[in-house]
Subunit: 258 residues, 2 copies
């Protein structure tokens, strides 16, 4: 069972060539978004994260050129199942490993991922529709601007999960206890107030069914910083392929606040 | 009454030349530590803060050369009651204002201050001895190293408040709800385990009385990042004079987590 693998075991499989989405792997261990940037672009990114912590919760940052992180004892260049490579802000290729592309000046950021709070929602009996439907979560550009930082600016991007009205309070309470993975919702109920015209036409991911009695709930999304970075057109950026996350040595429980 | 001043009113008095410690000013408004550094040293500082959030809770960061911050609508060069100026890591002078010294490449950091959680402790009936005794809080270097970042490294420095045994639980619970101002204690009870030889001989501040039935409780302290910065000997650094804080436009309640 993938859920029972340790992070080390899962990373060994990915290093050996397995290419698979990491949802369901290593239950209880924290999965993270990866974005690696030249040191020259790292300050703006870290400052953008400081100013927009709900959309960009930084879990760890490496020294320039390092291939492991405090929270990731594997090899960041080979131990994710798939990578995306961007040059001047454009996606140029998707690869199984990026060993030859890693540069001495690359700084890797590990960013919290909503997998952590989705596990907590499921444990509390709150449905997570895109998981039920086997889809990617729907994500939307909003009309709210992030606080800019240096070269980085852009709109807040949110993910949406429909929640039965009776469980909204639980969903808010539970996710607010995970500030390191986007935390409490940024909005409950009214897409129009966020400038979202049509929930059936997400900007990223796939639409999901909203049933009678369910209310759309919006959380800050990790696509926000990624989109802002790409707009600044760094010469090189390396990220995980969507859904193919870095499985860290941290426990989801480490990010639970009282 | 100083407690009833708005931040704007207090800042006007300091700008006009009043030099006074800010304890007791502007009840309910958040006070912050100031440290301004050249842009060349800002990344290491921001990364040190990301890696050591309990001792270095960043509330706001300015653009290079800016004289106001999102959380501080006054003038950072004149609206604190007193400043300290450091060159190559050495204190060179204490001044009422630093207008002529401000450079186009200075980045100002506002860092959370324990005044916020001390007000919450007092509200809950937990005594704060150094306030009762009219002293500065006692602070100690520990034998725990911070996670270094670039040029910045050094030991964790803690502040100590004696708490009656029956109220330890309250003190932990209350301060844990303020992660942006050092949060929960890093240690309760045993100075020796932190490498502290003698509570009566603090490394900074003044000793306080520990009464029968009280237990020393240790919180991460804002002196930690300041000491690490000075060891890296930046050409210029400007900070607040101890106890003469930046009074921000944020409310203490803004930093309360559920």
């Amino acid at each position: 069972m993938n859920a029972e693998l340790t992070p080390q075991q899962a990373r060994e499989r990915f290093r050996a060539g397995l290419r698979a989405p990491t949802a369901g792997y290593c239950a209880g261990w924290t999965q993270a978004n990866l974005i690696a940037l030249p040191r020259s672009h790292a300050y703006d990114f870290l400052l953008f994260a400081q100013r927009n912590p709900k959309s960009c919760p930084v879990l760890d940052v490496t020294e320039p050129g390092a291939t492991a992180a405090e929270l990731f004892s594997g090899d960041l260049r080979t131990d994710l199942p798939a990578y995306r490579v961007y040059r001047d802000g454009e996606l140029v290729e998707e690869r199984d490993e990026v060993a030859e592309l890693w540069r001495d000046d690359l700084v890797a950021f590990l960013i919290g991922c909503s997998f952590t709070f989705e596990a907590a929602l499921l444990d509390a009996g709150v449905p997570v529709r895109h998981l039920d439907q086997g889809r990617n979560v729907p994500m939307y550009r909003t009309d709210r601007e992030c606080r800019p930082a240096g070269e980085l600016s852009g709109p807040l991007v949110v993910s949406m999960r429909p929640v039965p009205a009776a469980q909204i309070s639980d969903a808010v309470r539970i996710t607010s206890r995970y500030p390191a993975v986007h935390g409490a919702p940024v909005h409950v109920g009214s897409p129009a107030e966020l400038g979202i015209a049509d929930l059936d036409s997400p900007d990223f991911g796939e639409p999901v069914e909203i049933r009678d009695g369910e209310i759309p709930v919006f959380w800050a999304c990790g696509v926000t910083p990624q989109a802002a970075v790409m707009r600044s057109r760094p010469p090189l950026a390396i990220g995980h392929a969507p859904g193919h996350m870095a499985i860290t040595d941290a426990r989801d429980a480490d990010y639970l606040v009282p």
